[in-house]
Amino acid sequence: MKMKCAQIIMECLLEQGVDTVFGYPGGTILNVYDEMELHGYKNKIRHILTAHEQGASHAADGYARSTGKVGVCFATSGPGATNLTTGIATAYMDSSPVVFITCNVSENLIGKDSFQEVDITGITMPITKCNYLVKDPDQLADVIREAFAIARSGRPGPVLIDIAKNVTAATADYEYLPVEQHAAHGRLAAMLRRSSHDLKTPEPDAGDIQRLLDMIAEARKPLVLVGGGVIRSRGAVPEFRRFVETLNAPVASTIMGGGALPGDHPLFTGMIGMHGSHASNLASSECDLLIAVGCRFSDRVATDPETFAKQAKVVQIDIDRSEIDKNVKTHHHIIGDARQVLEQLNKSLPAHDYPQWKKWVFSHEEVPLKKDDILHPHEVLETIQDLTDGKAIIATDVGQHQMWSAQYYHFSRPGQLITSGGFGSMGFGMGAAMGAKLGNPDVPVVLCTGDGGFRMNCNELATIQYYHIPVIVVIFNNRTLGMVRQWQHLIYGERYSQTDLDRGPDFPKLARAYGIQGAQADTQPEFREILKKALDSGEPWVIECAIDKDAMVHPMVSAGTPVTDFLLD
């Protein structure tokens, strides 16, 4: 059937089952936005108009992380497209499947420094799994199908499609094709025929599985390290829990692995790395076998790759071959999807137990939690935990509150912690929480943010108010860029250069200006009361918590030093 390419875009989104798009219109993407009215696509696909393209990019990412579906984000050319880049890089670093659709100037204007023209495919090359510039109307449907397939399969990630404006106005042939048949047609089929890439997740090698089983049989002090791969891999979490419970060995987690094992599980040693628990960090240097599942040993985990797990045989299970030996040298690896690999392992793994080893690992005392008149970060999180029954989705920005959230909230399922672990984007949380709430209307969504991070994208309060997205924003207000201040305190001789945020706004008042309820809490009972009211209201809320300026994240290991050298206990 002949139709306008702008309409083909909408039809292709429907093929993929897209129900929500985040975006911001502009000159070059007008044809696409026009379709929402012209042919009524706005009734089939909900479009969320954000305050800023960056908010839209994070929202699509948060939607994707919390639902496991592909997020979709629209933006216009030039500044619209460049405003997405932080969001694209954030999704890329945390392997989140998002398809970004931007429109560029018309073909005859490309390369002429036209108004709002930018080479966005060039700019996003290093931060997308792949990207396209569509100049041929006949290729459009095919490209969109390929883009979604690439975004969601294997190690997921963002894909960008840039479409010249004249293409969106051109007509082309379009036939509906169900998603299951996409791989048999067009570009995707050609790619699969070349067999250089595969849509199916590869079967793990039986020999590799056996070798790991042999290594487990010899191990006396095994440690499992879980990363975001287990969260991204569909259905991997039950297999993972079966695996660690049969193995009966301690389990440490990266921040991206949060939710793979319940936070209160008896085998769970907590987060590992720069702000890892004593148990996790000390176990990593004491273990004789380290089984890392879906984790890439980033510098925040293996703070010093030379000494990391130096007594252990390191085994890495990952879907991405290029992660093997990238940061930490391994002794063995298994390539494959976490669920499939763990399933294979579970078939032949006998039950083990390491009472002595576990006793040693769990004998390490963690930092005692303070309890007095003022409101402590852990009390904020414990209260959220308590009032949401541990079921809330927690979105975060970046910094101290992010670490506190990861440490003190007990995540029990994948997609429950939405945080920018790899890229560390301040301002991520507001959009991400919004996307997560739209994807999970029945789950309470709490955004834990700092006063610094919140101010970066608080313009999205307008969006959550307009669309009635009941996100509860909890601001850990310590009137400083806390994490940077912590480094300045510990490493830079208490020279607090440019980190004081002793300036406006009055957050509850700001919330009210946007038509959102706001309140301030100085003590735990106060916070508890406000949070309860907020959760019961079914409306968005902004709650400002007064946190001590000198509160620090414990423990802490300096960048570049062994994970066992605690700078701060």
Binding site: S153, D205, R321, I335
Partner: protein
């Protein structure tokens, strides 16, 4: 694994499309590797191009680089061509000062010894095309330097594996990478 930096030759089969070359070369610059030489051209199939890249690095670095290359959707296959199992050639053009008949004759003799060809003559110069590996080109360059080299250009090294094997053949390492083709 060797940790000292040595010269490696990579052969990369890619989609013949706009932006692919910058995608491939970006990986080198991002990791801070300096490309010693790069040659690219279409293959017998006009929809694919073959890039030959020479780069200095240690074994771990090469491994990582090849992994990253294989991840790209426009990259079909990557092969490291070990010197002992491959043939490498480069075309070098020398424009040499030759203002007298004697000098011209002398240069022509040198060219003959190297089995290079004279491809342009003028009253004041000779241009010689030489095909060979870097040692041959270097030897020729040293000899011609005394006459005065006006200009020199290289195509960059191209290479193929010896024998009947091709870059597309299934091999142990490619199988594992296909497994880890993570990516789709």
């Amino acid at each position: 694994m060797k940790t000292e930096h040595t010269r490696h030759t990579l052969s990369v089969l890619v989609e013949n499309a706009a932006g692919v070359l910058s995608q491939v070369s970006r990986l080198f610059s991002r990791k801070g590797y300096n490309i010693e030489s790069l040659a690219v051209g279409t293959t017998d199939d006009p929809s694919t191009s073959r890039i030959t890249i020479e780069v200095m690095g240690d074994d771990a670095m090469m491994e990582q680089l090849m992994n990253q290359l294989r991840k790209q959707f426009s990259v079909y296959s990557v092969q490291e061509l070990k010197p002992e199992r491959s043939i490498r050639r480069e075309l070098v053009m020398f424009k040499v000062k030759a203002e007298t008949a004697d000098v011209r004759n002398e240069i022509i003799q040198v060219a003959n010894i190297f089995r290079a060809s004279i491809i342009d003559v003028s009253i004041k110069s000779l241009t010689i095309a030489l095909i060979g590996d870097e040692s041959k080109a270097e030897a020729m360059q040293n000899l011609l330097a005394s006459f005065g080299i006006l200009e020199l250009v290289r195509t960059g090294m191209v290479a193929l594996e010896r024998g009947a094997y091709t870059i597309s053949d299934e091999r142990k390492e490619t199988t594992e990478f296909n497994l880890g083709k993570s990516v789709l």
